[in-house]
Amino acid sequence: MNRLAIELPPSTKLLAPTRSMINAWLCSGSAADDRWGLIATELIANAISFTSEDGMILVVMEQKSDNIELQVSDFGPGFDPTEVRMAAADSVRGRGLGLVKALTTQFEAVREGNKTTIIVSHPLP
């Protein structure tokens, strides 16, 4: 199963094919699990909204012993803690990361230079 890495431009047209890609990759390692299509869709859609038209997004999925780890990186402004808190408290916002957190056992946001990466992981089914 190894690793699946995708560098893509910020287009929502690539969300559905990325899900197919992820599901085929999980299947090829016999670990079909429909949570990852949703998690990737939410994180990539967020990354797209913080990326300029000529920018790019990185998606890396890897099996690490009994866990699947997904990293989604963008080169936007990074997380604004106040915004994140407001979104989480709002009734019409914050559902994206809410879903991601509900479907994973580890969630981390990392900022390195101008690169923002969300790293999530969850055990294989």
């Binding site: 969300l15 559905a16 869709t41 939410e42 809410g98 879903l99």
Partner: protein
């Protein structure tokens, strides 16, 4: 995503969404349902049995469309969500908003 709209004779409408809904195509729901061709005080039953995927932007769009019918004296409920869709409705806490339990 594919959308099928079947007006019944008593002002009720059966709508069925098929396929996948994400940030790329979720706006189509409102485009098809919040138009002059669909009475805004209709009673809409939205069949999601053949919808295999929905994300948070799809949920937001469904809530927006539901609110529009609601405030015009109509209503929108979800019937028969597929397991994947039910899971997302459950986690986001909007099952009851759409008449499900």
């Amino acid at each position: 995503m594919h959308i099928t709209i079947s007006p019944l004779n008593d002002g009720a409408i059966d709508v069925s969404l098929q396929g996948e809904i994400d940030a790329d195509n979720c706006a189509q729901i409102g485009e098809h349902l919040l138009t002059p061709g669909v009475e805004s005080d209709s009673t809409v039953a939205l069949d999601l049995s053949e919808l295999s995927f929905i994300d948070s932007s799809g949920i937001s769009e469904l809530l927006r469309v539901r609110d529009a019918f609601d405030s015009a004296g109509g209503s929108l409920v979800i019937v028969n969500p597929s397991p994947a869709v039910r899971r997302v409705l459950e986690i986001t806490g909007v099952l009851s908003t759409f008449g499900l339990s």
